[in-house]
């Protein structure tokens, strides 16, 4: 399963790199004069808040577009079917189940971040919800007042002082950074190694797990590509995601 995923990623990256120039087409020797330009409205010594380090912009924009198509033709139809077939309470159960399952990832990262109190709380959550909550389908811990956190290895690296680095748009997963993209790889590898649902002995379980996981993951995010109504959506989302992640690291 996983080497196929890697192969797919490599393949997609190759496509992406194929069409990666971000330079516009200019007729003649140089761009014409415009009524307004950046030099005119801003002094150079002021930082522009929308700027984010993005040396891979060409690839990122291609990937951004790829994600729109992946959404349109694969993920959103899957989400629609999922919402149509599954009643609300079942979907809530699925949300709880994955929250609980990925609690292990959070726990691991809280340990690595050196946050014993939060790690203890997360352990408590997993214990309560896995037992009383019937394998995580019900969230008993929240009404009991046990704190809920989401931590991943990208955040752990951030806590260790690693800067996010270049902006990166991942296929399917969307806006990220070099640091967080690497973190996602580490988290996924950890999940495969830990194998909490025992796929090694019950390979058939994957056929239930993955469709539900993908449908639920996309269902949680209401963001739709090219729906913000701004031609600067790429720039605005880039800034937004960067800021969100830095806040998450600090939290």
């Amino acid at each position: 399963m996983n080497h196929r995923l890697v192969a797919l990623l490599v393949f997609l990256s190759a496509i992406a790199l194929g069409g990666c120039s971000t330079a516009p087409i200019v007729k003649g020797n140089s761009p014409d004069e415009t009524v307004f330009s950046a030099q005119e409205v801003d002094s150079a010594d002021v930082d522009w808040p929308l700027d984010v380090y993005d040396p891979l912009e060409g690839m990122n924009r291609t990937m951004y577009r790829f994600n729109y198509h992946a959404d349109r033709w694969v993920l959103l139809p899957l989400v629609d079917a999922y919402r149509f077939v599954m009643p609300g309470f079942v979907r809530k159960g699925v949300v709880n189940f994955f929250d609980n399952l990925f609690g292990i990832r959070t726990l691991m990262n809280q340990v690595l971040q050196g946050r014993p109190v939060r790690a203890l709380q997360t352990t408590g959550r997993i214990a309560v919800n896995t037992t009383l909550g019937i394998g995580g389908l019900f969230d008993i811990a929240t009404p009991l007042g046990i704190r809920y956190d989401e931590e991943d290895f990208g955040q752990t690296l951030g806590v260790w002082g690693v800067k996010p680095g270049a902006y990166l748009v991942l296929p399917f997963f969307g806006p990220s950074s070099l640091r967080d993209g690497f973190g996602l790889g580490v988290d996924s590898a950890f999940d495969v190694w830990l194998d909490p649902l025992d796929f090694d002995d019950h390979p058939g379980r994957r056929w239930v797990y993955y469709p539900f996981m993908v449908a639920d993951t996309r269902d949680r995010v209401t963001f739709r590509y090219y729906n913000t109504g701004s031609p600067f959506e790429y720039e605005l989302v880039r800034r937004l995601i960067r800021t969100v992640r830095e806040i998450e690291v600090q939290k």
């Binding site: 069409g19 009524v35 801003d42 929308l50 209401t222 031609p231 720039e235 806040i247």
Partner: protein, 416 residues
């Protein structure tokens, strides 16, 4: 138990005859909207169908804006025969954006067929449905909307179930509705039974000037725009974290500052920034569509992969009034010999269709006395023209009271 029921009924009936919208600072009202418990009871999911009109062949779609090639709209029909209401979104608004969505829900709940129309100032409308590509021209925009409405009616079919046509619009959408109604009174292709204008600008030019001036309230002046803008981005980010929703419409910005409302000056500046995000999208899209050379050099063609970062900054720094003077007027000037910069601005004011509005018994108006997009004294024009068809609330700012139970009931009741 019966006593409780009686008290509840009393409370409900009391609220139906008294208007007590609680926020008296018009900027705060605009940004905070209606507090949850006072909001009209609307379904959580509108269950709208979302469709696209076919791609136009009348003009070329800029490659960099390929994703806006087809105009999206939303609709939902009742099972049986019913009248239909078109709802036109405000400045930069999508067909199903916050306030339009609330209207669509309320009308569907009240038994109407509903259709959501994107604002002609939204980037997608400019690319896919604007004949000139330079929005804000009220008569041209009205023609575009009118054509789009007829196309949509053709697409959704079921004419036998539609017993009549109505139209509502808020903010700029309300001005659009006025001009569309005037057009319809001459062309008679749809024949609107009732039209409602909610918080329209009187003169588009005076309102955009006011919106631009709001940015002067930025702490430390316009030179601190970047700093302030950064703060806004941070606040939106926090709101985004809470809601996992991203849409760069005024709604998300207002959402962002709900939790921690700043001072009135900051609120005004915030409102300015909000509209600045809309104007930047409008201006750059119009520029790309027409190759006018306003911010994008005319001999530069942007591809699907081209970076826009270079143009984002100047687009956000220029305002609606710059657009009017340096793009809109120079673009239209050759077509209007004899007009001046000022007389042309007056063509995009409701005063230019005053005779029609005065006589149109089927066009109603809702407004707020303290609406911040109006210049001083402009509010008094409305009762003199609309007479008893005007409902003016004492407060609410710019649409802050739209979702207030009493106001929503009045809006729906108007069409009953």
């Amino acid at each position: 138990m019966r006593l409780l029921l009686l008290l509840a009924m009393l409370a409900v009936s009391a609220s139906s005859w008294s208007y007590e919208y609680p926020i008296n600072d018009p900027y705060l009202a605009t940004i905070a909207g209606t507090p949850g418990p006072l909001k009209a009871d609307l379904p959580a999911d509108a269950k709208l169908k979302i469709r696209h009109l076919p791609k136009t062949t009348a003009w070329k779609i800029p490659e960099a804006m390929w994703y806006s090639a087809r105009l999206e709209y939303s609709y939902r029909l009742q099972r049986g025969p019913a009248p239909l209401i078109f709802a036109i979104s405000g400045t930069g608004g999508f067909h199903n954006s916050g306030k339009n969505l609330a209207l669509l829900k309320a009308f569907y709940q009240a038994g109407f067929h509903v259709v959501g129309i994107t604002s002609p100032t939204h980037s997608q409308f400019v690319v896919a449905a604007s004949r000139t590509g330079v929005p804000g021209h009220q008569r041209n925009d009205a023609k575009d909307i009118y054509r789009v409405m007829q196309q949509i009616l053709g697409e959704i079919g079921h004419r036998d179930r539609i017993t009549g046509f109505n139209m509502v619009g808020y903010s700029l959408g309300a001005a659009n509705a006025g001009f569309v109604a005037e057009l319809d009174s001459r062309e008679r292709k749809i024949n609107f039974d009732k039209v409602l204008m909610i918080n329209p600008p009187l003169s588009l030019y005076s309102s955009i000037s006011k919106l631009d001036r709001m940015l002067q309230n930025i702490p430390g002046g316009l030179d601190n725009f970047n700093l302030f803008f950064d703060r806004v981005v941070q606040a939106i980010t926090n709101a985004y974290k809470r809601s996992s929703r991203v849409e760069f419409s005024p709604d998300i910005v207002f959402e962002a500052f709900k939790a921690n409302p700043p001072t009135t000056e900051e609120l005004a500046a915030l409102m300015g920034v909000t509209f600045r995000l809309s104007s930047s999208a409008l201006i750059f899209t119009a520029d790309t569509r027409t190759n006018f050379g306003f911010i994008k050099p005319a001999n530069v063609t942007l591809t699907r992969n081209s970076s826009m970062s270079l143009y984002a900054q100047p687009s956000i720094r220029v305002g609606f009034t710059d657009y009017y003077h340096e793009f809109f007027w120079p673009f239209y000037e050759p077509q209007y010999p004899g007009e001046t910069r000022d007389s042309f601005a007056e063509q995009h004011s409701l005063r230019s269709i005053q005779d029609f509005l005065q006589g149109a018994r089927n066009v109603g108006l809702f407004h707020n006395r303290d609406d911040v997009i109006l210049a001083a004294g402009e509010i008094d024009w409305f009762p003199t023209v609309f007479g008893d068809r005007a409902t003016i609330y004492p407060n609410g700012g710019h649409l802050g009271n739209l979702e207030y139970t009493e106001v929503m009931a009045g809006i729906v009741g108007y069409f009953k």
